[in-house]
């Protein structure tokens, strides 16, 4: 039977050098799809939840979805699934570009990397051949230079690598691919560094994936592409302005966290907006594999042409650090990519450090000549580089994230994080539903596990009142479940501005030969969300880890359009657990039985 799965995984043990080919368990693949879902299931079953995340016992799963590399729109995605050293819970970091599609074309659904190499190593995949090679010539190089040198060594390959931040095991280290695409969150780059694994190069001869039903996939793809083209967001707003267009929208709702969330309206936000970026440093937009949206930004930083900032770093380095110097943000974002740092958590940690400095907990003599002052262009650029280097004592501390930094100074409440991972760019006091997403995200503070900004602010698929709690728990569950499906199929979440469960169902059924209905597919998403929660439970997660920082529940927004608002998470969280069939943050026996997750 033809299917868009390759049906094959490689298990690579870096301690022994053994490389084993394994067949994909199709029953598991049907139950968990691929990508995020299947990666988590594999790690859960193999007992990874209880290991030390930076030890040889942790495993890294680089996993595509059944639609990765197919003709489906936005099919360039893959996932890195592992136990996070930042949160101590599940990490599944998604990235675009073309590397994931190339891994699929080379004949693999996933690479499972185990153990620890005795010396710096990289994995070279050329179709069905996999070898381990010495990375001694590439260690210490910035991500982009390592990418270029590896391409010289293996012409025609695509490169995934870590920068210096991953090498020194910064808990904010990202995994980079195709130079400026990142599996950015939860410190997945540190896990790679802990295994002495610098890079994975992939060269593939094939250029297509044969689906179960080529005609049906063609038909479904055509319908999806039309919807994406006709949709105002995916066909107009995103290609023209990128995600950066959100700066002005979110700021005008008074939900744009400013100065480490002490305020939530930034009067200079327009200086760092998508509109301003388009008029100043933008060279062109860029697309990932088979993406009709092309939201990526290519910009000028000095005389270099590099990948530009998304909305998140524009906010995190901008308003959240009290700064409106777009050029400095572009440069700091470039250094995140070069050193291989999470471009959300890194600037959020700088913002937390600025608050600690403002309040006198971080002393001037710790700053080595570059004070952590609100609005300092020099501070955001140089402290990013210092965190990337990880040498200066304070920078080394900051490179492990805001929670550990603030805890070190006796004030963990200044860390605007959930499960020790920094929250992104939407104030959950002004937008109630997104607070449920933050609090209950299995990978910690995150917006892309249930993007309620879509209905609460953007009016998609319908406009909700951002200030109310009614019905938000149910919305959150549906968004979380659908997102789990998209992440597991190997498609981009941004396609969901135009597509819904029926479209994803049509694509998946045509690709793999399943017969899911949209409702059944959402149940698969629910199963994935629950297996992640089971992983976290096994990893030691406690019910109190589903919480928002005190600032959101005790300090009303101080000024701007949402002045006086506060998170109602105490109302919505019990509603959410009820909708999910969870008690005290974990699935009940009945829920597990219903989802086929009983043990």
């Amino acid at each position: 039977m033809k299917t868009s799965y390759n049906g094959k995984l490689a298990r690579i043990n870096l301690s022994t050098g053994e490389i084993k080919v394994e067949q994909l368990d199709m029953e598991l693949a049907t139950k968990f799809i691929g990508g995020r879902g299947l990666g988590t299931k594999i790690l859960y079953d193999e007992g990874v939840a209880t290991v030390d995340p930076l030890s040889a016992d942790n495993k890294l799963v680089y996993i595509t979805g059944p639609m990765t590399g197919t003709a489906s729109p936005t099919s360039g995605r893959y996932m890195v699934v592992t136990k996070s050293p930042l949160t101590g819970m599940i990490a599944s970091s998604n990235s675009g570009g073309v590397w994931g599609a190339k891994l699929k074309y080379a004949g693999w659904d996933a690479l499972i990397v185990e153990g620890k190499a005795s010396e710096w190593t990289y994995i070279n995949v050329v179709d069905d051949k996999i070898e381990l090679l010495s990375a001694k010539d590439y260690v210490g190089l910035m991500s982009e230079e390592a990418d270029e040198k590896l391409k010289e060594a293996h012409p025609g390959c695509n490169v995934l690598n870590i920068g210096p931040a991953g090498e020194h095991q910064s808990l904010l280290a990202a995994i980079m691919n195709d130079k400026d695409r990142a599996a950015g969150r939860s410190g997945v780059g540190a896990v790679m560094g802990s295994k002495n694994l610098k890079a994975i190069t992939v060269t593939a001869t094939a250029k297509v994936i044969e689906p179960f039903d080529a005609d049906k996939l063609k038909e479904a793809t055509k319908a999806c592409n039309a919807k994406i083209r006709e949709n105002g967001v995916t066909g107009g707003g995103l290609p023209t302005y990128g995600t950066a267009v959100l700066v002005n929208i979110i700021n005008n709702t008074g939900s744009f966290p400013t100065k480490n969330w002490q305020e939530s309206y930034y009067d200079k936000a327009d200086d760092i907006s998508g509109e301003t970026l388009k008029d100043t440093y933008l060279v062109k937009n860029a697309a990932c594999h088979r993406c009709p949206i092309a939201c990526g930004r290519v910009i000028k930083v000095g005389d270099k042409v590099v990948g530009g900032p998304e909305y998140e770093p524009l906010w995190a380095y901008g308003g959240n650090c009290g700064l409106h110097d777009l050029n400095a943000i572009d440069e700091a974002n470039m250094w995140c990519n070069e050193y291989g740092l999470d471009a959300i958590s890194t600037p959020c940690t700088i913002a937390a450090a600025m608050e600690l400095y403002e309040k006198g907990y971080i002393k001037e003599d710790e700053c080595d000549g570059i004070p952590l002052t609100w609005g300092s262009s020099e501070a955001i650029v140089e402290w990013t580089k210092r965190m990337g280097e990880g040498k200066l004592p304070l920078a080394k501390l900051m490179a492990n994230g805001s929670y550990r930094l603030c805890e070190h100074y006796g004030h963990p409440e200044f860390s605007m994080s959930v499960k020790k991972q920094e929250m992104p760019a939407y104030d959950a006091r002004g937008i109630q539903g997104i607070g449920i997403t933050y609090a209950t995200s299995n990978r910690g503070g995150c917006h892309v596990r249930g993007y309620l900004i879509s209905p609460e602010v953007l009016g998609l698929p319908e406009q909700l009142d951002r200030t109310t709690t009614e019905g938000k728990a149910q919305w959150c569950k549906i968004f979380q479940d659908l997102t789990a499906v998209i992440d597991s199929m190997g498609l981009c979440l941004f396609s969901s501005f135009a597509l819904g469960a029926p479209e994803y169902t049509a694509l998946l059924n045509a690709g793999t030969g399943t017969n899911y209905t949209p409702e059944e597919l959402l149940t698969v998403g629910e199963r994935i969300y629950n297996i992640e929660r089971l992983f976290n439970k096994a990893a030691g997660m406690k019910p109190e880890d589903d919480r928002l920082p005190k600032r959101l529940t005790e300090e009303p927004i101080s000024d701007g359009p949402s002045k006086g608002q506060i998170s109602q998470i105490h109302v919505t969280l019990p509603q959410y657990y009820e909708v999910r069939g969870w008690e005290n943050a974990f699935p009940t026996k009945e829920t597990l039985e219903r989802l086929g997750l009983s043990e």
Binding site: N231, G232, V233, G236, G237, L238, T240, Y241, G242, T243, A244, V245, L246, N248, I249, N252, T253, G254, D270, G274, E275, C295, E310, Y311, H447, V448, Y451, I453, S454, V457, L458, G459, L460, Q463, D465, R466, T467, L493, F494, F497, G560, P561, S562
Partner: protein, 73 residues
Amino acid sequence: MIEVRLFATFREGREKIVYFEPTKAACPADVLDELGIPYEEVAICLINGFHSGLRDAIKDKDVLALFPPVGGG
């Protein structure tokens, strides 16, 4: 005065911010008529930061923010 903030493509050929006498604009639709923006092009209409309909009342010192379909994540 009513402050009208324009974003994304609404800025093309227009100022970022325009002001209206309250007597000239009783609701966002009046503002759109004056600016020559078709109603169907407006995806997000905020009055003082809160989502509003095109026929909702606006008054002196209000801030009106208008966006075409845009989004991100």
